[in-house]
């Protein structure tokens, strides 16, 4: 029933060698998205990573537009570019991330990570290409307009929508609870000690006791 309006599955009519204009644009923007994403996960400058994330997510918004989902594209711009990236930048600042190149931005797990990522990419691309080689999307305009989306959202998805609001509330409360400084006993990090500290867990209970009994030097 749901598949009643699916596009035709005729393989012979469309060839990969004669792409349409939309496809060309999609590919170009997709390359930009992919490139900025790669820069995001590899750059040594932490703030630059956040900014390259903006490029990547913005490019994705364009891809959403090309796929006729215009409402989602604006939501993407609003939420991701507007709030999430700002939050991330705040996080970077609050954790006193260094400005400029930090040579130890990647952990020692990098080569394992690269292997796993390449394997995952190979597997996924192989499977996806194999499965959807002949599928064709008929992009009818207005398929994702605000009107259509709102109608389906408030007609069919009202209950999940309301549940999601509760979820957001809970997340709000949780974030407040977590980031509130409960009492003064927690030692505040000192600027000079940022990366020189020992790994957590390697200092024994004695060190923890001294840390907790020492009154904070500032305030």
């Amino acid at each position: 029933m749901l598949l009643a309006t699916a596009g035709p599955l005729d393989p012979a009519t469309r060839s990969f060698l004669s792409p349409t204009g939309v496809e060309v644009v999609f590919l170009l923007v997709g390359l930009a998205v992919l490139g900025s994403a790669v820069i995001t996960v590899t750059t040594k400058q932490l703030v630059h990573a956040a900014l390259w994330l903006v490029v990547s997510l913005g490019g994705l918004a364009i891809e959403f537009l090309l796929l006729t989902a215009e409402f989602i594209a604006w939501v993407q711009v609003l939420i991701y570019l507007g709030s999430v990236v700002v939050l991330v930048l705040f996080g970077l600042m609050l954790t006193k991330a260094p400005i400029g190149r930090s040579p130890d931005a990647d952990s020692g797990n990098r080569w394992v990570a690269l292997g796993v990522a390449l394997a995952a990419a190979g597997t996924l691309v192989t499977l996806v290409v194999d499965a959807f080689r002949t599928s064709w999307v008929d992009l009818g305009a207005g398929g994702g307009s605000t009107k259509v989306t709102g109608e389906s959202l408030f007609r069919h998805w009202v209950l999940p929508f309301e549940a999601l609001s509760v979820l957001l509330l809970a997340a709000l409360v949780g974030a407040i609870v977590l980031s509130r400084t409960r009492d003064k006993r927690l030692p505040r990090p000192r600027a000079g000690k940022l990366r020189a500290g020992k790994p957590v867990g390697s200092n024994g209970p004695a060190a923890r006791v001294t840390a907790s009994t020492t009154p904070p030097q500032e305030s």
């Binding site: 749901l2 309006t5 699916a6 990969f16 349409t20 999609f26 992919l34 994403a37 995001t40 996960v41 994330l53 990547s56 959403f64 796929l67 989902a69 989602i72 939501v75 939420i79 991701y80 939050l87 996080g91 970077l92 609050l94 954790t95 931005a105 990647d106 952990s107 020692g108 797990n109 990570a113 690269l114 796993v116 990522a117 996924l124 691309v125 996806v128 599928s135 064709w136 999307v137 992009l139 398929g143 994702g144 989306t149 389906s152 069919h156 998805w157 999601l164 979820l167 957001l168 997340a171 974030a175 977590l178 990090p189 000690k193 940022l194 990366r195 500290g197 790994p199 867990g201 390697s202």
Partner: protein, 122 residues
């Protein structure tokens, strides 16, 4: 439009996110990589919604939900990161090994065998 283009792009984006999650040291950057993975999923949802054109627009609705959940997630995640940073003074994920075996430099099996021998000799 061929469905392969957005699907492959989503797969590659997801893999890049995986790499970021596994390779980055700063927790905030790990969270950013998670955002990349989520967006890859979003791209898939939108593309398949456009392909299937079901009457409920499940793909687009779920994309909205995902974005919302992602926003909540990044908020909560950053709160946790802040808390951890305040507690332990670092935001490096490979230094947060409190869950691990405290004796990182465990004895080699050879020396364990040797001590066994000593015990047997006694």
């Amino acid at each position: 439009m061929h469905l392969v283009y957005p699907a492959v792009l989503a797969a590659l984006l997801f893999s890049v996110g995986v790499y970021g999650v596994l390779a980055r040291r700063n927790v905030v950057l790990v969270l950013m990589s998670v955002e990349l993975m989520l967006n890859a999923v979003n791209l898939n949802l939108v593309a398949f919604d456009a392909w299937l054109r079901d009457s409920l627009h499940a793909g687009q609705a779920l994309t909205l939900f995902t974005i919302t959940v992602a926003a909540a997630e990044i908020g909560l995640g950053l709160a946790i990161v802040l808390l951890v940073f305040r507690t332990s003074g670092t935001a490096d994920i490979d230094r947060l090994t409190a869950l691990g075996d405290p004796n990182e430099d465990t004895a080699e099996p050879e020396t364990a065998g040797a001590s066994e021998n000593k015990a047997a000799a006694v």
